[in-house]
Symmetry: C2
Subunit: 215 residues, 2 copies
């Protein structure tokens, strides 16, 4: 019975995700669903990414949080269109939440939209929102056991940013183990080591994004 | 409609939590539901706590993970009874999952049981499992914006362990802001700064636990 409820919710979500997808395609917008645990550095990655690409691409951002507008204010200060979704308790974004704010995004004037999901290593990976690609951030401070303990997000993501590499020397963390375990879960994933705070290691990520955008 | 489904699930959960609660009371066991983001250090806190208290109290541990038995093996090596729950995808433990494994715990021979929840800063706080107290771990590497962005867990917890304090000098994190924001959400919470990895700062936590246990 419980499974049925869940599967109905996921089916309804897929229908709305397809509507979003059609709208993104009509407008020629490439959409990245960015996911991670709380505090892995999604917003800092986004700040660096917007700064690195805003001279080349027209970027918009949808921010998802349980509550508050901190992240939207951080990104908005870079002078790109931002919409904040407050889920009010829900631990992930779903396609309907995205659908409801798309009217507030000038899609026809954008090349690339980032959706920053709620900080959660589990549920966001279950809900497509109509994105082209799922990308994820794992902070190496979270430990090298995370891929095997939370496999779904690593399986769903096309790109993994291994963040906070500047702290590696202060941690007991085996970065090679992380990479091996991630590849065992998802042989096609692109893994990029970086420190978003220091602004290092993001060149590959920026190049890859530029190569994906449709125009 | 969605709200109704959720409220029915939560009501059913409360009924089973009360059954668990009655069983804990019958056996004179004090139960701590330990929650945090992925990688905040719950298992390391538990390792140190078991080592610090096992000469004084009879301790059991219930480990909750999406999948895998890493944590149960880590705790089991300390020679205390451990049961592993694999939620298989669910992002939190609920009362029924706990109910189903209690038959595998020698409750009548225990004083203190820890339930290590799935790493998730959101949903675990919504599901009572029959515990005496909710405790949480926040790693300072997660940043000082977390309490206001994920308020519920901070409101539900009676104790907050601010972990990985040994990394403070390498981070741009305002620990005083964390504490102020937490207190603004929950004036009764006990905040303890520690480094579970280094084994420092846990004396208050161990003393507090000893004072809570019923026997």
């Amino acid at each position: 019975m419980k499974v049925k409820v869940v599967s109905r919710i996921l089916e309804a979500n897929e229908r709305i995700a397809a509507d979003n997808r059609a709208l993104f395609d009509e407008n020629g917008v490439y959409v990245v669903n960015l996911m991670s645990s709380p505090g892995a550095g999604k917003t800092t990655v986004l700040e660096q990414t917007v700064k690195g690409l805003m001279d080349h691409l027209r970027i918009g951002v949808i921010e998802g949080d349980i509550m508050g507008t901190d992240d939207a204010e951080r990104i908005g200060s870079l002078d790109v269109p931002v919409v904040q979704i407050n889920t009010g308790g829900a631990c992930h974004l779903d396609a309907n939440m995205i659908n409801e704010v798309l009217k507030d995004m000038p899609l026809s004037e954008l090349d690339l939209v980032f959706i920053e999901n709620v900080g959660n290593l589990v549920c966001p990976a279950e809900f497509n929102v109509g994105e082209d690609v799922k990308a994820m951030v794992l902070s190496i401070t979270e430990g090298d056991d995370k891929p095997l303990k939370y496999p779904l997000m690593f399986q769903e993501a096309s790109v993994l940013l291994l963040n906070k590499m500047d702290l590696a020397e202060h941690l007991d963390v085996n970065v090679d183990k992380i990479k091996q375990d991630v590849i065992s879960l998802n042989g096609k994933i692109k893994i990029i080591e970086c420190s978003a705070k220091k602004g290092t290691g993001l060149d590959d990520w920026l190049r890859w994004l530029k190569s994906q955008v449709k125009r």
